[in-house]
């Protein structure tokens, strides 16, 4: 197992396990897990996600995660 961090932003924060107010969560996942595996573990529906950023770089759903990676999950949003 390895440790990664997940940050669920905006309306996706309802998928946090600890509290909606969490800034991010630490999670243990199997070595070799991908972005898609992580989102599945968190029950985040794929259509609700507009962008995944791993360590401040855009990531595809098949990207394999590494120990201590920080994964940001971003919904569709517009305005300003």
């Amino acid at each position: 197992m390895m440790r990664v961090f997940i940050k669920l932003t905006g309306p996706l924060s309802k998928f946090y396990r600890t509290s909606r107010s969490a800034k991010k969560e630490e999670v243990l996942i199997a070595e070799g897990s991908t972005v898609a595996d992580l989102l599945e573990q968190y029950d985040v529906p794929r259509e609700a996600v507009n962008l995944v950023v791993v360590n401040r770089h855009r990531a595809g759903s098949s990207e394999i995660l590494q120990e201590n990676d920080e994964v940001w999950v971003i919904p569709l949003a517009a305005g300003g």
Partner: protein
């Protein structure tokens, strides 16, 4: 007339003369209303080279034919004038409930000319219009002004007013309506101050005639769809500050005066933190399903106290990340102060960021300011905001804006704006189309003339690479023209720009209101006419390609670590193509043929 009230009010503040003039149907057909109608009036009547703060400048309050019709989000008005900040034509847009009252009083526009001898306000109760003395309102903030004007007029009057910043001619003073909504940009409040006009109070009880009311019932279906969609839910819950996370994730949240695109303390100034700490309730403007407004209160344990609205995303950037303030309480307080004194939070923030960088470079000293001003020092930012609004000490100079200061203190390159107006909260090195938009906006560094987020960041309608020039000139032109039409209608751009079929919907609503068929192409053409007219207004004042510029920080300094690392804005390449597609010369001048084709000359 269907849609229009058919009447324009002309108020000469010098002579006190008030004239009601019928709306010219050709003018309405060709320029619609809002920004379009008012820009055309300015173009035809203003001595273009006039001093923006002289009595000869005109200040136009204007709504549109769709305002208060039941069309989606139809509660907007605009203030159009020649800007004292940029010297260009400008249009500043606001929502709330004032626009509905203004239109139902029976007027499509109010044109203010001249300058009152003493401070006055205008009171409109349907057909009764009077100029009243307002000397007792001098120096009052916008909240106090609303209260007092209502006491003197009607308890349900809707009030748009300036605060001390407008009275003291801070070049980025705002007009605040309904206490917390702002026609903030380009110094429209400064022009109002220069005319000694403190407030406009309105009570309207008339109806708006619509050709096909049944077609407008579709608004309810679309509103319902928006409310249930992920995007609508997110908007209602988090408001525009949701964008802090989105911009940070995309590495385009301008930070430290645009040196960077990532703010490490984003978590403490975002929509989620507002829900936990300051949000009282979400709120909507007239006739809008989005509920993106935030009514907030600073908690009892906060260092600062106050209650009001916001901040919106743009303020989270301008008085947050861009000056390195990672403290929601301080940010909220600064937002309240700007609303109370009547000042644009965005150019106030740009000005603070410019001073901070000049201070860091040793070009402005502690002695000059009266205190130190380092990145993130919100206590001294608050001190300076008050000095600016009052026009006292260094605040007098700071009230001239970031460009003035950067030029005066020998580092023009540190001003992050275009044509004298500060940028919005989207870093163009990470979304270069936004850079083209800023450079070509008729009113300077402004995101509201056609935001590029949907195509560049959300990939709607089709994914496009935010980092390259490919397709950007075409996309920006289309966004600019569509936005010009939407704003001319007197509705909010948000829902129409969010929906993929937004242009089709606005064309259908417009057709239903006026009773004639308009296709998507027809409304784009009207938008193009408005945009070109504004361009030609500026061109006659000498604005050409040389003014469609961006600071070197965006075009030469590579983007910081993260998404888009190393990228710069390929402005000149985009401009060449943009001008060509627009039918303008290589110097950015609309050709005679183009102006004739659009019926401008």
């Amino acid at each position: 007339m269907n849609g229009w009230m058919g009447k324009i009010l002309r108020v000469n503040l010098t002579s006190g003369e008030i004239v009601k003039q019928p709306m010219d149907p050709d003018l309405a057909r060709n320029y619609v209303g809002g920004r379009g109608l008012a820009s055309k009036i300015l173009f035809d009547e203003l001595e273009l080279d006039c001093d923006p703060l002289g009595p000869e400048n005109m200040l136009i309050f204007v709504n549109g034919p769709l305002t208060v019709t039941g069309a989606l989000s139809s509660g907007r008005y605009m203030i159009v004038t020649k800007s004292p900040l940029t010297g260009t034509i400008c249009s500043s847009n606001s929502g709330g409930y004032f626009p509905a009252a203004f239109k139902t009083a029976g007027y499509d526009a109010i044109i203010f000319m001249g300058r009152a001898e003493k401070l006055v306000y205008l009171w409109i109760h349907d057909d009764n219009v009077e100029i009243r003395e307002a000397t007792e309102l001098k120096g009052m903030d916008t909240h106090e002004t609303v209260e007092l004007v209502r006491r003197e007029t009607h308890k349900e009057a809707r009030v748009a007013c300036i605060g001390p910043a407008g009275e003291n001619l801070v070049r980025y003073a705002a007009v605040i309506n309904d206490a917390c909504r702002a026609a903030a940009r380009s110094g429209v409040g400064t022009v109002m101050g220069s005319k000694n006009l403190k407030a406009v109070a309105v009570r309207g009880t008339k109806g708006v005639r619509v050709a096909d009311p049944e077609e407008l019932l579709r608004s309810n279906i679309i509103a319902d769809h928006i409310k249930k969609a992920d995007l609508g839910i997110a908007f209602a819950e988090f408001g525009t500050p949701l964008f802090v996370d989105v911009m940070n994730a995309n590495n385009i949240m301008p930070t430290r005066n645009f040196k960077e695109g990532f703010f490490h303390e984003g978590d403490v100034i975002n929509g989620a933190e507002m829900i936990d700490r300051t949000l009282v309730r979400s709120k909507a403007c007239y006739g809008c399903p989005l509920n993106c407004g935030r009514n907030t209160r600073l908690p009892a344990d906060a260092k600062f106290q106050g209650r009001g609205d916001g901040p919106e995303y743009e303020t989270c950037f301008s008085l947050g990340s861009n000056i390195c303030v990672g403290d929601l309480d301080a940010l909220t307080k600064m937002n309240y102060i700007c609303n109370e004194v009547g000042m644009d939070t965005m150019d106030a923030g740009t000005t603070l960021a410019t001073i901070m960088e000049l201070y860091e470079m040793g070009l402005i000293t502690e002695k000059k300011i009266g205190f130190p001003l380092v990145w993130g020092d919100y206590d001294n930012c608050i001190r300076l905001l008050y000095l600016i609004a009052r026009g006292e000490a260094f605040g007098r100079e700071a009230g001239m804006g970031g460009k003035y200061l950067a030029d005066k203190y020998g580092a023009p390159e540190v001003f992050m704006g275009s044509k004298g107006q500060g940028f919005a909260g989207y870093h163009p090195r990470g979304m270069v189309g936004q850079g083209l938009l800023y450079a070509t906006s008729p009113e300077g560094g402004n995101h509201t003339t056609g935001n590029t987020i949907q195509p560049e960041i959300n990939g709607i309608p089709e994914p496009m690479d935010p980092l390259t020039a490919t397709g950007k000139p075409e996309m920006v032109i289309s966004r600019q023209d569509e936005t010009a039409f939407i704003e001319a209608c007197g509705v909010c751009v948000f829902p129409y720009m969010l929906l993929e079929e937004g242009t089709e919907i606005i064309a259908e609503f417009y057709s239903a209101v006026v009773g004639e068929h308009y296709s998507e192409d027809d409304v784009r053409k009207i938008g193009e006419r408005i945009f070109n007219l504004e361009r030609e207004f500026n061109r006659r004042l000498g604005f050409t390609r040389k003014n469609d510029s961006l600071p070197k920080r965006l075009t030469e300094e590579p983007h910081n670590e993260g998404i888009g690392e190393g990228n710069v804005v390929p402005l000149e390449e985009m401009l060449d193509r943009y001008y060509q597609l627009r039918g303008w010369t290589g110097d950015g001048v609309p050709s005679e043929e183009k102006l004739k084709d659009l019926g401008i000359i």
